[in-house]
Amino acid sequence: MGAPEAKMGLRASKTAAVYLESVRIPAWRRLGEEGQGFPIAMATLDHSRIGIAAQGVGIARAAYEASVEYAQTRQTFGKKIAEHEAIAFQIADMRVQIEAARWLTYRAAVRSEIPGVRYSKESSMAKVFATEMANVVAARAVAIFGGYGYSREYPVERYYRDARVTTIYEGTSEIQRIVISKNILAGR
């Protein structure tokens, strides 16, 4: 095992390199037949990307809920910041984005269990939308909290850092767009 990576976010999870040096594994542990590894890995990602989309939705909800609460407490110019349209509209946009991402994600999950139905495109659509949404919503939450959003004393900066990797791992946003466009252009 390599040393644990020092990460921007997800810091309570452990991530490290794994080095294999003449590691002996009984052949019965091989998953699938020889030559099936790559197709199995890709099918696995079709499924797992829906989970990453759900992570995006969850992180965004945390950022949104914190923002709604804070905007009804913090005052500027003699009124709650939620009463400034600039903040109120951001809250509205956050909610719309979260709902849209959530339904894309739930639809992909339901579709994934219909026998014989392909769902690579739906899984990637949920992943790219929900994770990019989480980054936007977490960034807005930081803005709404102002200096407190930049401080480790408050949770929103953690949401911002945790959101960042969701557009990278289990296929970057660019990879999702490749999957989506290839499926569309293949008529699927």
Partner: protein, 176 residues
């Protein structure tokens, strides 16, 4: 089209939310600041059946549907995204492919341990030179009698060092 979760799915959402707020939220900022893996929380998630949610009960899982799993990930991520990724890796990149593509022996001897949370799983696909170009694999498995012998390096492995089981992508016929 029905947009409501079923009663069972709602019950799972509430149970995971309650667990997240009561058991995960306390100390979440400190664990993340100190980079401390939440061992006790992961053990409790296993006891709740949250680490192998879609795996049939006969293989140690909870036998639930995909939407139940997705809702559980969402509720965990709302409180602690680190816990959510530990859990989602175990469920969807370890348990799922072993359940879908594994042999009966693999399901009995390996999946039942990981889906029940008695052991943790990890998934090793990326390599130092292979990320988005996932097919560009250098790890090799050479057949030797009843074994394979593996050589290579894997990068960015979630749960590495905490997991007992690793699903490793490797080339058996590199020339093909």
């Amino acid at each position: 089209m029905n947009f409501d979760l079923s009663e069972d799915q709602e019950r799972i959402r509430q149970a995971v939310r309650d667990f997240a707020e009561n058991e995960i939220a306390p100390g979440v900022a400190e664990r993340e600041r100190d980079e401390r893996f939440p061992k006790d929380i992961v053990r409790k998630l296993g006891e709740m059946g949250i680490l192998g949610m879609m795996v049939p009960e006969e293989y140690g899982g909870a036998g639930l549907d995909a939407l139940s799993y997705i809702v559980a990930v969402e509720e965990l991520a709302r409180v602690c995204a680190s816990t959510a990724v530990i859990m989602s890796v175990n469920n969807s990149v370890f348990c799922y492919p072993v359940w879908k593509y594994g042999s009966e022996r693999q399901k009995r001897e390996i999946l039942s341990e990981v889906a029940s949370g008695r052991a943790l799983g990890a998934y090793a696909l990326s390599e130092p030179q292979s990320g988005s170009d996932a097919a560009n694999q250098k790890t090799r498995a050479r057949r030797d009698g009843e074994d394979y012998v593996l050589d290579g390096a894997k990068s960015w492995i979630t749960n590495a060092g905490e997991a007992e089981w690793y699903l490793v992508m490797t080339m058996t016929q590199p020339d093909r």
